[in-house]
């Protein structure tokens, strides 16, 4: 009986995603139809004359009115057809599918890393205000949001590869002396572990460290800042006072009561952090020559490969919508007040 309003809230949240997805599709369609350069001319080749360019244009469907093009585009989407890449000649969907695991592995590793550091740091800073941990936390936060991702990546390469020689050359996921592990998930770390191939595993891990750390540094700051702020707010709440007055141990008060309540705004922040991370991903992939969808998009932009760019923007957005949905559902699971007349 109590779960019905919650279930309704969950369903409503899922339903809310639908108009957003539609909006995303519309915007990404519009954006790339506005790309400079005439794709028909590009396809037809340098030596083509007006007539053949026009032929290509009709073949590509570019002569039809915009609305019609949009419907054709949507129909194709539903079939999973994202068009064909001009530069690679492959279907864009296939290109993206091949490169997506690389980006995901990078982003997820980075996020795990930064949460693992930022959340404990934020908690410690909140429980010991004014201590050296607190100062480090605040310094990190202020400096962290100032760091340009591409610059930190370059600096790290300079220090650890050129000066110290510890890191491997920043040329992608795996040094050429190793063979790609058998494809199960596309995540090299998981695949190599599954195959028991620890040499390849350590090779992949070594390549992953610097780009993951670069990305993690970027996301560290907002997570630490929000954790600290949320913990401070929770710790000064009335119900913590009640808990302490009732004699509950500091461990119980801190983790059982304060932390869980503080996690609510932190989970919400994670959505924003994901947005930044997916964007910074593009930069990190360029710096480290990481073969993910970010570098795919940058290369495609340079040659006006509009199907590829369109596919990239769309996939990124859909990924983001999915992530936000998961986060909101997570939030609903933690906070029992959702679905009722929210305070």
């Amino acid at each position: 009986m109590a779960s019905y309003p919650r279930l309704r809230a969950v369903l409503m949240r899922v339903a809310q995603s639908v108009p957003v997805v539609v909006g995303v599709v519309v915007i990404s369609f519009l954006l790339t139809r506005a790309l400079p350069g005439d794709p028909a001319a590009y396809f037809a080749g340098a030596a083509a004359d007006e007539a053949s360019i026009e032929q290509v244009r009709v073949a590509l469907g570019l002569d039809k009115p915009l609305i019609q093009q949009f419907f054709i585009y949507s129909a194709d989407l539903l079939r999973g057809d994202l068009g064909r890449s001009v530069s690679s000649g492959q279907p864009v969907a296939a290109d993206l599918a091949k490169r997506l695991p690389a980006s995901l592995e990078l982003t997820l590793t980075a996020l795990l890393l930064s949460c693992g550091i930022a959340i404990p740091l934020g908690i410690l800073a909140a429980t010991k205000p004014g201590s050296w941990i607190d100062h480090i936390c605040r310094l990190l936060v202020t400096a962290g949001v100032s760091l340009p991702t591409f610059f930190t990546g370059i600096l790290l390469i300079y220090f650890f590869y050129y000066l110290l020689g510890i890191a491997p050359s920043p040329l992608g996921r795996l040094d050429f002396i190793y063979l790609d592990p058998e494809h199960v998930t596309g995540f090299y770390l998981i695949d190599a572990a599954l195959a028991g191939d620890w040499e390849t595993w350590s090779g992949a891990a070594k390549q992953l460290i610097l780009p993951a750390v670069t990305l993690a540094l970027f996301t560290l700051a907002p997570i630490a800042r929000m954790t600290r702020a949320a913990m401070l707010t929770a710790l000064s709440s009335d119900f913590i006072r009640t808990a302490r007055a009732a004699g509950l141990s500091s461990g119980m008060v801190l983790f059982g009561y304060a932390f869980r309540n503080a996690m609510l705004p932190v989970v919400t922040t994670l959505g924003m952090v994901f947005s930044f991370a997916l964007g910074a991903n593009v930069l990190v992939e360029k710096v480290f020559a990481w073969p993910g969808i970010g570098s795919y998009a940058v290369e495609a932009l340079v040659v006006s490969d509009y199907a590829a760019v369109q596919g990239f923007v769309l996939i990124m957005a859909l990924l983001f919508v999915l992530l936000n949905l998961i986060i909101d559902l997570l939030y609903t699971a933690i906070d029992p007040r959702i679905g009722f007349a929210a305070k």
Binding site: Q16, P19, V20, V21, G23, V24, I27, S28, L30, L31, T32, A34, L35, P36, T142, A143, V145, S146, L147, P148, T149, F150, F151, I154, L155, I157, Y158, Y161, Y162, S169, P170, F274, S275, F276, A277, L278, G279, A280, V282, L283, K286, V287, A297, V298, L301, V302, V309, F312, V313, M316, A317, F320, V321, N324
Partner: protein, 292 residues
């Protein structure tokens, strides 16, 4: 009168007095303001005062490390890195200030309307904001600049568009909180129309929390513009801009010529850092509750 008098100065401080007080009271804010002044000066006077022409190439002097002649060294076509770094301040600052100003105005207006009158305007605005925010913002900026064309103007528009949701949401929330406050109702009793209450009473009180957002945004807009030029969108060579310079320098850092990438990157960091520190100071200046 048996009231207990509150602590307070006999006369309230004027605006300038208050600003000086905030600066004196908080050394970090003072530092931020000094740095900001320096950055502003570089942007305005820099290009006129730098020792070398930022665009002047000299193949003979290419790839020289920092020296007394060239404080930051020279790049691969012999241009003085120091002059380019200082000259780049103008471009980056222009982009970020213009973009933030645009999104501040647009976001404030939209957010105020949605927060005050609610109804279908609110729902519509939320849908639009949701759609904008459904894109990872940098990716959206990439898409917009790619679509509209590779120019500085379009970077400004793209950055402005992706920033609007932050302001709109913030203003909407702040206006919503204050809509039913006593002083808003009192303002109506004093004969103010809805628009007057919103513009003259509610919105000015929403400014202090927005100040922090504005300066954080300035920093972020600079990072954004630099990031876009790093991947080749927006500003094009040979214009001096921190992002492009880091991109060009990145090619050489693996062979040890670090100065081409490091100095522009460092300056970028300092600028963004300054704006972040500035946020709290700005809020203290604008918030009347901080006046003793």
């Amino acid at each position: 009168m048996t009231d207990i008098p509150a602590t307070g100065s006999p006369k309230s401080s004027g605006s300038l007095d208050h600003m000086l007080y905030v600066l004196r009271d908080n050394p970090v804010t003072l530092l931020a303001f000094i740095l900001f002044a320096l950055i502003l000066l570089s942007a305005v006077f820099g290009p006129a005062l730098v020792p070398y022409d930022p665009l002047q190439t000299d193949a003979a002097k290419a790839l020289q490390p920092p020296s007394w002649d060239h404080w930051f060294g020279t790049d691969n076509v012999g241009r003085d890195v120091f002059s380019r770094v200082i000259a780049a301040t103008r471009l980056d600052l222009t982009i970020s200030i213009a973009a933030v100003a645009l999104s501040f105005v647009a976001g404030s207006v939209l957010g105020s309307i949605a927060g005050y009158w609610g109804g279908w305007l609110d729902i519509l605005l939320n849908r639009i904001l949701d759609t904008i925010m459904a894109f990872p913002l940098f990716v959206l900026a990439m898409g917009i600049v790619a679509a509209l064309g590779n120019s500085v103007e379009n970077i400004i528009y793209a950055t402005a568009i992706i920033n609007v949701p932050f302001y709109a949401r913030l203003v909407r929330a702040e206006v919503n909180i204050r809509r039913e406050a006593g002083f808003a109702r009192a303002a109506k009793l004093s004969g103010n129309s809805d628009v007057q209450v919103l513009a003259l009473h509610i919105f000015p009180n929403a400014l202090p929390p927005m100040m922090v957002q504005v300066s954080l945004n300035l920093g972020w807009a600079i990072l954004n513009a630099a990031g876009l030029s790093f991947i080749g969108l927006g500003v094009r060579p040979p214009a001096p801009e921190w992002g492009i310079m880091v991109a060009e320098g990145a090619n050489f850092i693996v062979s040890g010529e670090w100065w081409m990438a490091v100095f522009p990157g460092l300056w970028l960091m300092i600028a963004v850092f300054t704006f972040n520190l500035l946020g709290d100071g700005l809020r203290d200046i604008v918030d009347p509750r901080k006046r003793t």
